[in-house]
Symmetry: C2
Subunit: 563 residues, 2 copies
């Protein structure tokens, strides 16, 4: 361990600035990023793109053995929305095998200091960053995200969120002195003198249950928050999006081993559809933390049943944008069209309901009724998606049969406001790519639009008045939850009321977006993703609450000799 | 509100240093206290003691109306362990009335800034401090604590814990910039510029369910943590210890009204035995937080059922001290005797089990077998408690019939190692004061000592070896939970192993205490009370986790004009 410990000191020195900058950015909330999101050869090197693709293709059809314990069986059920044959097999392990290996790995990892753990996390992220192109292809062909988005959201943006979690964990564990000489005056007698030490001690094992659409972005905060606070981590990928996490875990294991830790500090738990491995793991008494992204049903099941664990969930929500008035109508429509189109609306942050008062939207082109608004939105979407190649680069593919079915049903609706079409690209003749559908609804139709309709389907909802739009937004957010909210209004008093409603309902609000920032996107170190204050999620990426419960300070104290 | 707002600015200025000092002390963990614990006239003034007692006596037999909503009924079932007639009646309110009044009070309170709320909390605590003598009598005659302890633990020490919670809440809410101009470079194009604001928003209403033995000390952390994070608070006292919290709440209401807030920001919820008001309140959807101190059964019920709320519980535990060896035998025995005697062992932090290896304890007076240890401990207790007046000042009274019954049963046990006697004092002829009992047990008798036996009953537990002592301590702590742990050993390697076991089991450890610090006492701003890492409690006084979940940051953002 001596040489490994020496390496660890060097690693701490190597990443000191990176971690300090991340901690500072989280405080100031100013723009900052550790990992460049441009896939340009000037940033990542001339050969990076080709080498990354080659590395990805070399994985196809193989059995990916990470050197973990296994029960001898294999799983693998990934299929690309672009029609590419993936065919990767993953050795499976039982819940008991995973928990036991994780438990054994725990002791040395929790004995490392907070800054040592943070440095190891930073090193893992830096090496993940170097493999962003390989990961981009893996994310693209499991989630269906278009390549550039898969690179950005699945690569550098996810890495930034992981670093953000690492920075918060480090801050939280070092916010108190780790030891102190405590002297309590006793009047004329000598003071009471005690030596005290405070050690952050992890809860045990963190289970991270990942989703299909953002396999890395939604997993890295939980992985690195648990890891940096001294927990070992079991990563349970969605059965249809294993590869990005297999690559991630293999990198983590490589770094851990290099610095003298048991690589089983991070384990992959691949499963087939219907295996219920996540449920088995979540109920194990050794699992102290569960991070989950996915359906409301399973999220609530975890909250109710994994009682020995702290459970952080991101579930479904219904996101609204209120259109009351705008002095930049075309830019607002363009912004909205982009939001609805990006990754075919398959983001938990995509706007589902566009609330429009019956009196119409006041704009710089006059009052627009809902029907006119629908036509204009359709035009904005045509403009954005008119060219198939460009459209595909924005839309990506449909992630699952469920989403495809929902889209089919919606496109046959009598309430169609903006219809859709299939998009064809030469590179992927079998790809499942469609433009989004927009439907009309009234606030009385609460059987449709008030439920999450995940995918490229949104609703132009007419409200009786502009006040009812605020009420409908607040009520839906409180009851169904929301990850995002938006408003367009030129009336400061109205904006102020929407702001109050957003605070009250517990959702973050984007106001009058017309430029290159979209309601469905957040920036690490500045925007909190989700709030934890409405039913869509019980935590946020990343604040003190997201990391503070993952460990406890344990004190030891003894008398100090008299001075 | 203009004049009130002006007052608020002055209040913020008035308490700025106090709050900063509290925040700093929490960081450095050095000795610091805002509220002097000496009831000396030199500290609190010549007349303070007499005036405080007079104020307390003026309350006896009255109906204490705090100006709250009421359903027209009254409750009151306090009885002093010293035999004093209390007879205070409290107007009762229904759960619905309380929740509705709290909800209405919430809006203005949550709109105050974090520093304004912290200043109001500080002012409440400063005014509570001025009434420490009155509160001491109220705590003494409800909990049974002896007067000086009731003054210290129920007064200044509790106030320090309340200030500690306030300071953590302030730190947590102000750890990020509250607004920022965010500029993201866009290569050759102008940067994206956004104005962002981040508002801490409270969960709603905090319910604080208080206990009989430490009505203020165990309540103030939750009350002030919720209050300072913008929640309104409903204080539900134990039916037998209402008065200290009625005084506390009345002071809070007075300060709130004075600074322009609805006094219903803090409400008292008195109930009679068996009313189940706590359970009704805890399940109300408006209750966002529950702080609970009390039985494991009700604590676990709350954790399971109050699913809409964050639930912080302090429940029962079984605290151990390992006696392996000591080079200061008599001082160690004296320290232990004090711990067992203080407030008749009715502290959740009192040592219950003294683990002694069968080979005996190595001491500076030679090896002591368990039988010899029992005799020497009995002598140390006789020395401490030989004089009735002095004994009563340490022991206080037996808080409840349950504890009295348990003590009676124990004193008739065939395993008696140290027997007990009644203590009589002239001032309180009807008081229920007894010296503690110590019983013998073996590690095989796990039906007795491994269950919490709350009150003045402890066990000298023989373990086969000194290693088994560590195992028994670790196992009991993991299974039953513990609030404290201690060890006596002169063997550094042994100490190191006990330290590891304590970290592993998640309990704080006091080593070789012989002087004026006791295993059952913690100091605010330096020692964490409980850890949240074993079954005795799911949180600690006070760390980041204790405050971070009580509010959420909600962001709002919009484009900023080009620079």
């Amino acid at each position: 361990m001596t040489s490994a410990a020496a390496d660890l000191d060097a690693l701490v020195a190597k990443h000191a600035d990176l971690l300090e900058n991340a901690q500072r950015a989280a405080r100031t909330r100013e723009y900052w990023s550790a990992f460049p999101e441009s896939p340009s050869p000037r940033v990542y090197g001339e050969d990076a793109a080709a080498e990354g693709e080659q590395a990805f293709r070399a994985l196809l059809g193989t059995t990916l053995d990470l050197g973990q314990p296994t029960d001898g069986t294999q799983v693998g059920s990934e299929s690309s929305p672009y029609g590419l044959e993936i065919g990767v097999r993953y050795p499976r392990a039982s819940a008991d095998q995973l928990v036991e290996a994780s438990r054994i790995a725990n002791r040395a990892w929790r004995s490392a200091t907070p800054i040592e753990r943070a440095a190891v996390c930073a090193e893992i992220l830096v090496r993940i960053n170097r493999r962003s192109f390989e990961l981009a292809h893996a994310v693209m062909h499991t989630s269906g995200q278009a390549f550039v988005m898969a690179f950005q959201a699945g690569g550098p943006n996810a890495q930034d969120r992981g670093l953000e979690a690492t920075a918060y964990a480090l801050t939280e564990q070092t916010r108190h002195a780790s030891s102190v000489l405590w002297e309590k005056p006793q009047g004329k007698r000598p003071p009471l003198r005690m030596t005290k030490e405070f050690t952050p001690v992890a809860r045990g094992i963190g289970l991270v249950v990942c989703c299909n659409t953002f396999p890395t972005w939604n997993a890295y905060p939980g992985i690195f928050a648990s890891l940096a606070t001294g927990n070992t981590v079991i990563v349970k990928p969605h059965p249809h999006a294993v590869l990005p996490l297999a690559v991630t875990v293999s990198i983590a294991r490589e770094v851990l081993a290099e610095f003298g830790f048991d690589p089983n500090v991070v384990l992959l738990a691949p499963e087939d559809d219907g295996d219920r491995l996540a449920a088995d793991l979540a109920l194990d008494p050794q699992i102290g933390i569960v991070d989950f992204t996915g359906s409301t049903a399973f999220g609530e099941w975890l909250e109710r049943n994994a009682r020995q664990a702290l459970v952080y969930t991101e579930k479904a929500g219904v996101n609204s944008v209120i259109f009351e008035s705008t002095d930049a109508y075309r830019a607002a429509l363009g912004n909205l069209a982009f939001t609805l189109s990006l990754y075919s609306g398959q983001m938990c942050t995509t706007t589902q309901n566009i609330l429009i008062p019956a009196e119409g939207v006041q704009t710089d082109e006059g009052v627009k009724t809902r029907s006119e608004f629908a036509i204009d939105l359709g035009e904005a979407m045509d403009k954005l998606l008119g060219d198939d190649e460009k459209a595909a680069a924005l839309l990506g593919g449909i992630v699952s049969d469920d989403v495809a079915k929902r889209l089919n049903a919606a496109s046959a609706s009598p309430d169609l406001a903006v219809s859709n079409r299939q998009v064809n690209v030469a590179e992927w003749p079998d790809a499942r790519i469609y433009t989004p559908v927009v439907l009309l609804a009234k606030t009385s139709d609460d059987h449709t639009y008030t439920q999450e309709c995940f995918g490229p389907v949104s609703f132009l909802v007419e409200t009786a008045t502009r006040d009812e739009a605020i009420d409908a937004f607040a009520e839906m957010t409180k009851e169904q939850g929301a990850l995002t909210a938006g408003v367009y209004s030129t009336d400061e008093a109205y904006l102020e009321r929407v702001r109050e409603a957003a605070l009250d309902a517990g959702v973050s609000l984007s106001e009058n977006l017309t430029g290159g920032v979209f309601v469905n996107q957040t920036a690490a170190f500045s925007d909190f993703h989700a709030t934890g204050a409405n039913p869509a999620a019980n935590a946020t990426y990343v604040d003190g609450h997201f990391v503070a419960g993952r460990f406890r300070f344990i004190g030891t104290r003894r008398h100090a000799p008299d001075a």
